[in-house]
């Protein structure tokens, strides 16, 4: 029976696609299902309609588990990307004007991470201890009186010209070709391994031999690595292959 892998469109899906081709050549049957939404891949996993998914990092998974009562576990690490904040109007964070407009992601975890990064840049202060779960409601200090707009991931690229500062995901920027993905004013860095996008399965099924076989193929394939490199504009600065981190 085919191994069903759920993904969402973008660099991660493209990498899985390359791996799936190779796996088929090795006689492992793979079916890749692309979801254009971030809830349904977990829902389908829980419903046993797919066997593994590859679109989320551990905090996102845990959040969903807590909210929906799923029982999942991380099978293996994937890609860790170095997202940042970009501006087409200003050369540095200092130039962001009083009352400037800022576009952040509208999904819970990415927004939380974006806000953490802004806090790191000293632009805002968040409520004590909210961590990556913070929302706009958790901003306790906003000295520059920044105005926030929440926007879907891919759309962030489109709105960047219209705001003073926009959160940005390198692989979207690369795909759009709209501006230089390495021109960010600040990056999240690739140290926090917990945010790597991982393979997730139902708890207790992480040792399914088909999953294991696929993951080890993914980890070892040169074609996969090349595909990922291409998706991130050939810049090592923008991503890290999490499984290689020690």
């Amino acid at each position: 029976e085919a191994l069903k892998i759920g993904v969402v469109p973008g660099a991660y899906a493209d990498a899985v696609g390359v791996a799936a081709e190779e796996a088929k050549a090795q006689g492992l049957e793979i079916e890749v299902i692309e979801f254009s939404d971030w809830n349904t891949p977990n829902l389908a996993l829980d419903a046993k309609d797919i066997d593994v998914n590859f679109f989320q990092h551990q905090p996102f998974m845990e959040n969903t588990e807590a909210e929906k009562g799923y029982d999942f576990s991380v099978v293996a690490p994937g890609i860790l990307q170095n997202f940042g904040f970009f501006s087409l109007k200003h050369k540095s964070l200092d130039e962001i004007p009083e009352g400037g407009s800022v576009a952040v992601a509208n999904d819970p975890v990415n927004q939380g991470r974006g806000l953490l990064l802004l806090q790191k840049a000293g632009l805002i202060t968040l409520k004590e201890g909210v961590g990556y779960k913070g929302t706009l409601d958790d901003i306790t200090a906003n000295p520059k009186n920044l105005k926030f707009t929440e926007v879907e991931g891919p759309q962030l690229v489109h709105v960047t010209p219209d705001v003073d500062l926009a959160q940005g995901y390198p692989h979207f920027i690369v795909a759009s070709g709209a501006f230089d993905p390495t021109s960010g004013l600040i990056y999240s860095g690739v140290e926090d391994k917990i945010f790597n996008v991982s393979f997730v399965s139902r708890a207790g099924e992480e040792n399914d031999p088909r999953i294991q076989q696929f993951v080890s193929l993914f980890h070892s394939s040169q074609a996969v690595k090349d595909q990922i490199h291409e998706s991130f504009a050939g810049s090592d600065k923008l991503y890290v292959l999490a499984w290689l981190l020690k």
Binding site: P9, G10, S36, D37, L43
Partner: protein, 217 residues
Amino acid sequence: MSPQMIDRLIGAFLDTLLMVSASAGIALLAGIPLAVFLVTSGPGGFFPAPRLNRALGALVNGFRAVPFIVLLVALIPFTRLVTGTTIGVWAAVVPLSISATPFFARIAEVSLREVDPGLVEAAQSIGASRWHIVRHVLLPEALPGIIGGFTITVVSMIGASAMAGAVGAGGLGDVAIRYGYQRFDTTVMVAVIVILVALVSVVQVTGDRAVRRLRAR
């Protein structure tokens, strides 16, 4: 475009056809009785049931008010019950038809209301039961409008089926979103849109023809 992409487009086209025709069929079958009931049980109708009419109207409004993606997820338990799965084309057909039915019902309602009350009277005078009136007067006389409305519904569903990607169902609209919107692949997007426009045009022209033929008699 790569051969894979061409395969993918063909597959997506077939998926769209399947999703849209299945859910349009369901919307047609369920929407017409709903519309008939909304018209005949309302004020001035020949089958007054104000309480039930209001309740059903509210239900229709409820389904119309909920954003599609929310409806889709809320319906998943039901979808699984019906289709046994939460992903794929058939899983998309359930929410698509459930959202298209009230939409089509409202459109059909508008056309049913246009039927000349004199014709209903004529049917009553020959001893037609309510069912006969619906069957022989309301539906046939409103048919051009209903077909026009169904055309609009099918075209709207081609658009709405793009959202089916949320349950991994694919289809043309989803390919347009995934490649055009999320991957910024303009070639694929243009190709998809050309196919979509062609599909919509075929539906529209077929609908228009049918209406014109009915009117010409």
